[in-house]
């Protein structure tokens, strides 16, 4: 959710002329992710994410563009908000058209989370022994649901 969307949502919630203002604390331009509170798997996942974000145009030889800034940003938020120090490292896979997929495997279970080119549509697929079990849309801010999926994966 962008700052603008957040503000709009809060407007709707408070229903007043006044609204909340979110302020930042840095004048820095060069983009980095500070990793002192992230686990090893998150750091590796972010590195993979930024490596695929610099893929060239036509990386798949079908004319696809590299993952879009919005898709990469959404994947980054998903990775850093997972509150697990030690976890399985997901495979980070570019999707034709500019999206990103995160895929975790554990034993016979697999969880795939696919982020659209726009970064606004996130879909999940849970599979067991190669057979789909459940799929649908996912809210990126829905941490408890994501946590439930991750618990299922390693159960």
């Amino acid at each position: 959710m962008s700052i603008v969307q957040t503000a709009a949502t809060i407007d709707h919630m408070v229903g007043k002329e006044q609204r909340f203002q979110i302020s930042a604390n840095t004048s820095q331009w060069s983009a980095v992710v500070v990793t002192n509170r992230l686990g090893w798997w998150q750091r590796r996942a972010l590195q993979s994410l930024y490596e695929i974000s610099s893929l060239p145009e036509n990386w798949d030889s079908y004319g696809s563009r590299p993952p879009t800034e919005n898709a990469v940003e959404c994947a980054k938020r998903l990775i850093i908000q997972i509150d697990r120090d030690n976890f399985l490292q997901p495979r980070i896979i570019p999707i034709s058209g500019g999206g990103v997929q995160l895929a975790w495997h554990s034993g016979v279970r697999e969880l795939e989370i696919e982020i659209s080119t726009s970064g606004f549509i996130v879909e999940y697929l849970k599979s067991e022994r190669g057979e789909p079990l459940d799929d649908g849309l996912l809210e990126i801010e829905d941490r408890s649901r994501i946590d439930t999926f991750l618990s299922w994966l390693i159960a």
Binding site: V32, Q47, Y50
Partner: protein, 273 residues
């Protein structure tokens, strides 16, 4: 100043990737969303792209026991949306940041192999951009900014593999960090962040040093981000006093950087003076 006249430490290959010079002033009460567009019209030939960002919180250095600048970060109730606008130049190397109480000029390396631009070149750029902004404020009858703080920062990216491999090597990078424990109990250091502050004499300002592990988004590399930020109040809002303060901030950042990092890394960055 010509390179031959420079008396500050200088490097052939310093790790600096970004520099910014800025001023904070009393909020311009009549500055509205419309004025971002009007200002952009004045600079659009050179700065053709823009981005909207959340505003920076007000930050003023406080002096006295245990006091220092605490940037206000958070959520507050306001009657009108406040924003900060980024105006980016054609090369992707220069940026003007504007909000109703801030003006900041940034320079960054567009590509890792690009040459570092020295302060002597960035200083007049800041001065020109600030004066152009003030001329716009005057023309739009928005008032003369009352500057209450100057700020400048150098952002350094020290890549893993260039002088350090793991956090156990932090003492090879950071001079005040010994890297030694008092017994054998603790294993190798997994991660560390450092925040340090140094006061300028006569409460003219403060140097903030921050070392953090990070991943650079442009290429996914693991880095130590070493930020050197100087902040303080100029004698007045006049440009000559602002530049005077920035010169002082620059001296503290450059000499402070050399003092805070090791000779081993100075060799890595090919120190010249």
């Amino acid at each position: 100043m010509a390179v031959s006249e420079r008396t500050f430490p200088d490097y052939d290959n310093p790790p600096v990737v970004e520099t910014f010079l800025g001023v904070q002033f009393a909020p311009l009460t009549k500055f509205s969303l419309l004025h971002f567009g009007l200002y952009w019209a004045k600079i659009r030939d050179e700065f053709p792209s823009f981005q909207v960002q959340p505003p920076l919180g007000a930050t003023i250095e406080q002096f006295g026991v245990g006091l220092f600048a605490q940037p206000r970060v958070g959520v507050e109730l306001v009657s009108q949306p406040e924003i900060r606008c980024w105006f980016i130049d054609k090369t992707g190397a220069k940026l003007n940041q504007v909000q109703k109480d801030r003006f900041i000029h940034n320079w960054r390396k567009p590509k890792p192999d690009d040459k570092y631009v020295h302060y002597e070149n960035i200083r007049p750029r800041f001065s020109n951009e600030w004066e152009r902004f003030c001329a716009f404020l005057d023309e739009a009858e928005l008032g003369k900014p009352e500057v209450n703080q100057c700020e400048m920062a150098y952002i350094n990216h020290i890549e893993q593999g260039k002088g350090w491999e793991s956090f156990a090597d932090l003492n090879r990078v950071i001079a005040p960090w010994s890297g030694r424990c008092s017994n054998e109990f603790l294993p190798a250091l997994e991660s560390a962040s450092i925040e340090a502050r140094y006061l300028f004499p006569e409460q003219k300002g403060r140097l903030h040093i921050e070392v953090q592990p990070a991943i650079r988004q442009s290429d996914g590399k693991e880095i130590l981000q070493l930020n050197m930020t100087a902040r303080g109040k100029p004698e007045s809002s006049e440009i000559k006093h602002i530049l005077e303060w920035l010169d002082l901030g620059h001296e503290w950042i450059v000499k402070g950087f050399t003092g805070f990092t090791t000779d081993f890394m100075h060799n890595e960055w090919r120190r010249k003076t």
